[in-house]
């Protein structure tokens, strides 16, 4: 049926805007969401600059630029609107950079930034359609393809300190005496350039939760999962397993909790699924750290949990008036 043409009745001097209800809306937009997320990364970035110097900034810049340029090219190829001005590509490029050691080879950083967009998002339909947190896809690709270029101790060999998780993995619990918890908290440790800045990441994460751009459920459940699982191992044998505080303050636990796990597209919706998702991811972190071959379990733990998202989304409450 062709809809009838509705003519203006008589007054066309005033042309009104029409839209479906509701006519009041919250002022949430993707642009604003991403601006707040980028703002939340600033404290960690400043701390990373303080710790690692200019290489930290150049790594972030390279990855961010590569991501944005790749996104533009791919959107053009797909003949879609080029909407990089919503900052999503930039944000995810920077998230990828935050996982890298400062001063990682530029070609790999560029590749990773591009892969974040290509393999992380575009092949699945673009922003918002990715089943797995996009920066982690690129991280895993690079980690498996160029292990040396991604290695934290190797890239940061000019620092007199060691990467805590690698020490734990390869040299055992006794070597952890060299680390002071306060130093770890203040970011005086080796690791992903942004991810290791625990204080800055926490400040940004709490800012996002307070401004309601990130709901509390996933970060809280994730941290609970990490703490409880680590505590269980620690209570079984404190001579063999590290204490939960150490686990919380090292690697990408905080970064994962506040920035990677709550990634909008790849995390579940609904309160119960989000809590389960956080708990599973948090538990996996410690299991990978204890039994896996990778020192830091966070990226793989979150990717595994991402794969469970469609399943977790099936856990839903009884609908209103439903049986």
């Amino acid at each position: 049926m062709t809809p009838p043409v509705i003519k203006a009745m008589s007054d066309i001097a005033v042309r009104l805007t029409v839209s479906p209800a509701p006519h009041w809306r919250s002022k949430r937009t993707v642009e604003k969401m991403m601006q707040y997320h980028l703002l939340a990364l600033v404290p960690a970035l400043l701390m990373a600059f303080n710790m690692f110097g200019l290489p930290a900034l150049s790594t972030v810049g390279t990855a961010g630029a590569a991501a944005v340029i790749t996104e533009v090219l791919l959107l053009k190829l797909q003949e879609r609107d080029v909407n990089v001005d919503n900052y999503t590509a930039l944000y995810e490029g920077i998230l990828f950079a935050f996982l890298l050691p400062a001063g990682a080879p530029w070609w790999m950083v560029g590749c990773g930034g591009a892969l974040t967009i290509v393999l992380g998002r575009t092949v699945f339909g673009g922003f918002g359609s990715n089943p797995i947190c996009a920066p982690l896809v690129a991280w895993a690709f690079c980690r498996l393809s160029w292990p040396a270029a991604m290695d934290i101790d190797l890239n940061l060999a000019h620092f007199a300190i060691n990467a805590p998780l690698d020490q734990l993995k390869y040299f055992g619990l006794d070597t952890l005496e060299q680390f002071d918890n306060m130093d770890l908290f203040l970011g005086k440790q080796l690791g992903g350039l942004g991810a290791s800045q625990i204080l800055g990441i926490m400040a940004g994460g709490i800012f996002l939760v307070a401004t309601k751009w990130v709901r509390i459920f996933i970060p809280a459940a994730f941290l609970v999962g990490v703490t409880v699982t680590a505590s269980i191992f620690w209570m079984i044998d404190p001579e063999v397993y590290a204490n939960p505080i150490f686990h919380l303050l090292t690697g990408s636990v905080m970064f994962g909790a506040f920035f990677l796990a709550p990634d909008v597209a790849s995390s579940p919706v609904g309160i119960i699924p989000q809590v389960l998702f956080g708990l599973i991811a948090g538990t996996m972190v410690i299991i990978i750290r204890v039994y896996g071959i990778y020192p830091d379990g966070v990226p793989f733990a979150i990717m595994v949990a991402n794969l469970l998202t469609p399943l977790l989304d099936r856990v839903r409450p009884k609908p209103f008036g439903g049986k």
């Binding site: 203006a8 919706v269 008036g321």
Partner: protein, 381 residues
């Protein structure tokens, strides 16, 4: 400055003011069966159109005049200022039964809630949406008429219990009703949630719900025997009595409201109302408010893909998944939408309100419901 809020409380209410009669009435004919012809001379109160549904209300002329324009969408009446009017019908002497129901329908009342027995009768005395204070205005000023309407409704429904749901902290009451307090925060004013609060059950079969606005109209029909041809609307801070068909432009002129090109004019509430496309659009039954939203106040709706952020799911009072529903509706998979509990939705609009990518989720849900209804009718035929 526009204040977005969920509060259903009304500030200190003045009395209801009148909007003067316009020179022309524009009456929407959408979903109605026209009963008159173009050029016909009409008396005030004369039947214009009926609804195709079993319980729907008929529509009558508010003023005497001549039907000058009739098309698919609208009926225009040129008002002649005459005194001619239909004879009142003696509703008071009618006993409950089919004849009374039929008469009420013809006089402009929806009889869905009145046409059969129910154990519980719930009167929804909450203001329907933020920014609208009609319900409390009527409870304050028109208590006797509402009680007359209630008596008539009770004679038809024969309820065991009659409850009145009002905002917590308010002192409104009606004779013969048990008062239940509801937190005055949208979406608690919606019938489904009011019934849940009163009876503790979700979509119970033994409960009928009726708003104080409908009771008031019922009371007026009972007292006067004349058809309902006006509605009470909140415009700004005050409530006005407006005749059906009064063009929005006339109201704006009378009240000095300035509307510019690009603005949005909404009849009924900000969450569930309808944006009119022309200032000539007339007010209809069930419009309890008029809102002008200046251009640029809100980011516009977009044809964007869902990013799965979950805000709609977390804000949904019906505990369903608007994200999935809107996707199924978008790709015309209406049966899947039904499986995802489409019919639990009572259309509060909070999903679209909160949507980060500004998808028209409520519209998709209404579309899916409408398509299912149409295809259901086609199968029956």
């Amino acid at each position: 400055m526009l204040r977005i809020h969920y509060s259903l409380e009304s500030e200190a209410l003045e009395s209801i003011s009148e909007i003067t009669a316009p020179a022309e009435l524009n009456i929407s004919m959408r979903n109605k069966i026209l009963k008159i012809k173009k050029g016909k001379k009409l008396a005030a109160g004369e039947l214009l159109a009926e609804r195709p549904s079993k319980y729907g209300a008929a529509c009558s002329a508010a003023l005497s005049g001549k039907a000058t324009k009739v098309n698919y969408h609208h009926l225009t009446i040129k008002v002649d200022g005459g005194e001619e009017s239909v004879e009142p019908i003696d509703v008071k002497s009618m006993g409950p039964g089919k004849e009374l129901l039929r008469t009420l329908q013809e006089l402009g009342l929806n009889i869905a809630a009145l046409s059969s027995h129910a154990d519980n009768l719930v009167i929804n005395g909450l203001n329907p949406e933020p920014g609208i204070s009609v319900a409390e205005q009527l409870l304050k000023d028109e208590k006797e008429t509402i009680e007359a309407g209630l008596k008539l409704a009770e004679s038809l429904v024969n309820p065991v219990h009659t409850y009145l749901a009002v905002a917590a902290g308010s002192s409104y009451g009606l004779v013969g009703t048990e008062r239940v307090f509801v937190k005055p925060k949208y979406p608690n004013s919606l019938d489904a949630l009011v019934v849940k609060k009163v009876t503790g059950k979700e979509f119970p079969d033994d409960t009928k719900v009726i708003s104080v606005m409908d009771l008031y109209n019922l009371g007026r029909v009972y007292e006067t025997g004349m058809p309902i041809t006006d509605t009470i609307m909140t415009i700004g801070e005050k409530n006005y009595r407006v005749l059906f068909g009064t063009p929005v432009a006339h109201i704006c002129n009378e009240l000095g409201i300035d509307v510019k090109s690009g603005d949005k004019v909404v009849l009924d509430g900000p969450f569930r109302g309808e944006a009119v496309y022309s200032l000539d659009e007339g007010v209809k039954k069930g419009d309890y408010g008029l809102f002008v939203i200046p251009e640029g106040t809100f980011p516009s709706i977009e044809d964007a893909t869902c990013i799965n952020c979950g805000e709609c799911v977390l804000s949904c009072p019906a505990r369903i998944q608007p994200n999935m529903l809107s996707r199924y509706a978008e790709y015309e998979m209406f049966e899947m939408a039904e499986k995802y509990h489409l019919h639990s939705c009572f259309e509060c609009g909070l999903c679209s309100f909160n949507c980060t990518v500004r998808r028209p989720i409520l519209q998709y849900i209404r579309f899916a419901k409408d398509q299912l209804r149409t295809s259901g009718q086609a199968e029956k035929a």
